[in-house]
C-alpha cells in the first residue's frame, strides 16, 4: 500500500513564488486523490457464527470484506481487527445481532487502541433480549483517533474492533443471516491535527488574463481549501461524571431535555460547551447520539434524540428522535438508546443530545457516563459536505 496517497499537506504560497508541477502534484493532485478515496473499511460476519460468552465484551470476527482500500484488515490473520494505515480520526460504526435463546440484553460497540494507549471498549445501543425470536439487533458509533499507524499487525500499531455483548447468561452465537449480520465500518474523516476555524471552500473561478493569480487567491482556493477538507469540524463529547438524572415523562415531548456531556474527546473548531454544540460553518453533518441509563424494575421505555435549532428543521428548537425501545425491567440494568442522521445545518445552528424515558412509578433514572463504565452517553458530529 506504499503507493497510496497520504494525508495532504497544504503549502503556504508567498509572493513571487515559483510554483512547479511537482508541488501541485503533491498538494493538489495527491490531495484530491486522498480526499476522494480516504481510508475506509467495511466488514461483515456472514458465515462464522461466532459464539459470544456471557457478559464478555467480544471482538467480532470479520470474515467478509466489502471494502478495505488501505489494507488495514486481513481475513486470514487478526480477522477481528482493522489496523490504522493512515493517521487521523475515524468514524466507526458497528451493528450486531445475538441469535438469542435466553432472556437478557444485547449490545454492540467499538473498541481498540488509540494513540498507543490501552485497549478500551465503547459500547452503544443496549436493549432487552428475549428467548424467542425476533433477535435483538443493536448499533453503535464512535470517533477513534489512530496516530501510530502504517504497520499491519504491529504490536504498537493502533487498531479498531467491533464489539458484541451477550447479556443472556449462556454463550450464544452471532446471527449470520441473509439480512441480519454483524457489520462494521471505519472511515477516515479528519487528520490528527490541522488548521481549524477555516471557512468552507468557495473554490472560486480562476482569474482570466489580464487578471493574475495573487498570493491571496491561491492560498484561499488551494491551500486553505485543502486544509479545511483535511481537517473539517468534528466533535465528540461524553458524560464523564455522576449525578445527572433523566426524569420520567409519560408522553414523548416535541423538545426533550438537553443532556449534559461534560468531557470532550475532540472539538477542533471549539464549537461545543458541555455537549451543546453550535455549527461553526454551514454544511451536511453526520450526527450520532446515545443515552445510557441505569434502570429500575418499573422502567418502561427509553429513547434518544438530537435537539436541533435550525431554520432547516422548522425554525424553532425541537428533538429529532431516534431509537425508542423498551427498558430492561431490572434494578440497575443498563439500557442505551441511540440516534443518528445527517443534518443540513447553517452556521450558528445548534445541536445537543436529548433523551426520554418513561417509568410506571414515575421514577427518574441515573444517566451513565463515568469513563470506567463501558456504556456512557455521548454525542458525535462530523462535517461531511458543503
Amino acid at each position: 500500500m506504499s503507493n497510496l496517497p497520504t494525508v495532504p499537506v497544504a503549502p503556504d504560497y508567498v509572493n513571487e513564488q515559483l510554483i512547479l508541477a511537482p508541488g501541485l502534484r503533491s498538494s493538489v493532485g495527491d490531495g484530491i486523490a486522498f480526499l476522494l478515496s480516504p481510508p475506509a473499511f467495511v466488514g461483515a460476519q456472514t458465515n462464522t457464527l461466532q459464539g459470544v460468552a456471557p457478559s464478555t465484551l467480544t471482538a467480532i470476527q470479520w470474515d467478509t470484506e466489502s471494502y478495505d482500500n488501505y489494507g488495514g484488515h486481513r481475513i486470514a490473520t487478526s480477522s477481528n481487527t482493522y489496523y490504522g494505515m493512515i493517521p487521523g480520526w475515524y468514524l466507526c460504526t458497528c451493528s450486531s445481532f445475538i441469535n438469542s435463546t435466553t432472556n437478557g440484553d444485547a449490545s454492540s460497540g467499538i473498541g481498540g487502541v488509540q494513540s498507543g494507549g490501552a485497549n478500551q471498549q465503547y459500547m452503544g445501543q443496549r436493549i432487552p433480549m428475549g428467548a424467542a425470536p425476533p433477535v435483538p439487533g443493536t448499533t453503535s458509533a464512535k470517533l477513534m483517533l489512530m496516530t501510530q499507524t502504517g504497520t499491519f499487525g504491529g504490536g504498537s500499531n493502533d487498531y479498531i474492533q467491533g464489539i458484541a455483548w451477550n447479556g443472556g447468561g449462556i454463550s450464544q452465537s452471532l446471527l449470520n443471516g441473509s439480512n441480519q449480520f454483524p457489520y462494521m465500518t471505519a472511515t477516515w474523516v479528519a487528520a490528527q491535527s490541522g488548521t481549524s476555524s477555516l471557512p468552507v471552500p468557495v473554490n472560486a473561478a480562476w482569474p482570466v488574463p489580464p487578471s493574475y493569480i495573487t498570493t491571496s487567491f491561491i492560498n484561499t482556493n488551494v491551500s486553505n481549501a485543502i486544509q479545511f477538507l483535511t481537517y473539517p469540524p468534528i466533535y465528540e463529547a461524553f458524560y464523564n461524571t455522576t449525578g445527572q438524572r433523566l426524569a420520567s415523562v409519560t408522553s414523548v415531548p416535541s423538545l426533550g431535555p438537553t443532556m449534559l456531556l461534560n468531557s470532550e474527546t475532540v472539538d477542533n473548531y471549539n464549537a461545543g460547551i458541555n455537549g451543546s454544540w453550535t455549527a461553526p460553518v454551514s454544511g451536511l453533518y453526520y450526527a450520532y447520539g446515545q443515552i445510557a441509563v441505569s434502570n429500575h424494575a418499573t422502567s418502561v421505555s427509553l429513547g434518544a434524540g438530537l435537539n436541533v435549532n435550525s431554520s432547516n428543521y422548522g425554525g424553532t428548537p425541537l428533538t429529532l428522535w431516534g431509537s425508542g425501545q423498551q427498558a430492561t425491567q431490572i434494578t440497575s440494568a443498563i439500557n442505551c438508546a441511540v440516534v443518528s442522521r445527517h443534518l443540513r445545518l447553517n452556521a450558528g445552528d445548534t445541536l445537543s443530545l436529548s433523551a426520554w424515558q418513561n417509568d410506571s412509578g414515575a421514577n427518574g433514572v441515573n444517566v451513565l457516563g463515568v469513563l470506567t463504565n463501558n456504556w456512557s452517553s455521548r454525542l458525535i458530529i462530523v462535517w461531511r459536505s458543503a
Partner: protein
Amino acid sequence: MSTPLPPPAVPVFPAGYAPVTADFTNLIQIPMQFATNRIVFRANQQTTQSITTGAYRIITYDTVLEDPYSGWNSGSHQWLAPYTGLYEVTVFCSIATNPASLQVGIGITGTTIVGSQPETPSAQLGGAIAYGLYACTGGQDYIQGIAQVDNTSSTDVSAIGRYPRMEIVYAGRGN
C-alpha cells in the same frame, strides 16, 4: 455549485507545460468543488404509511429535501446512485402502533441489510435506526429505506422529529 459535478479524475500536472485558465479550472477548481460539495440526498415521509407484516417493506418517502443529482424515483421510492462510489447512508423509521418487533434497514439494489432491531420497541416511541457504507455502481445500484414489523403497523409522522427519513452522502470512489 450550480451544476452537479461527476467525481473528477485525479488531476495530473505535467512539467514543462504553461497552464492557462482552463487548466486551473479543470485541474484545481472542479476537483476541489466536488470534494467540497459531495453527492447528497435527503428525504423524509410526512404522510403515514401502512407497513404490512412479514416481508421487508420499502419506506415510501414523499418529501424530497435535497436531490441535486436527480437520483430519486418517486414511483419505486429508490435513489439511484449517479456515479460509482462509496455512499454513507442513514435511515430512521418510527412506528405509531405497537408491533412486537421492528427492523429498520437499508436496501441496496433489492438486498436489505438490517441496521438495528429493538425486540420490542417502545409503545410511545417505536423507532429504530440504520447506518451503512456501501459501494454502489453508478446508474445501476439504488438505495432504499426498509422497515419490517411482525404485525401490521403504521409509520409515525405525528411530528417533524418523528418523520421517517433517509440521508445519503458520497464518501469516496469506492475503488
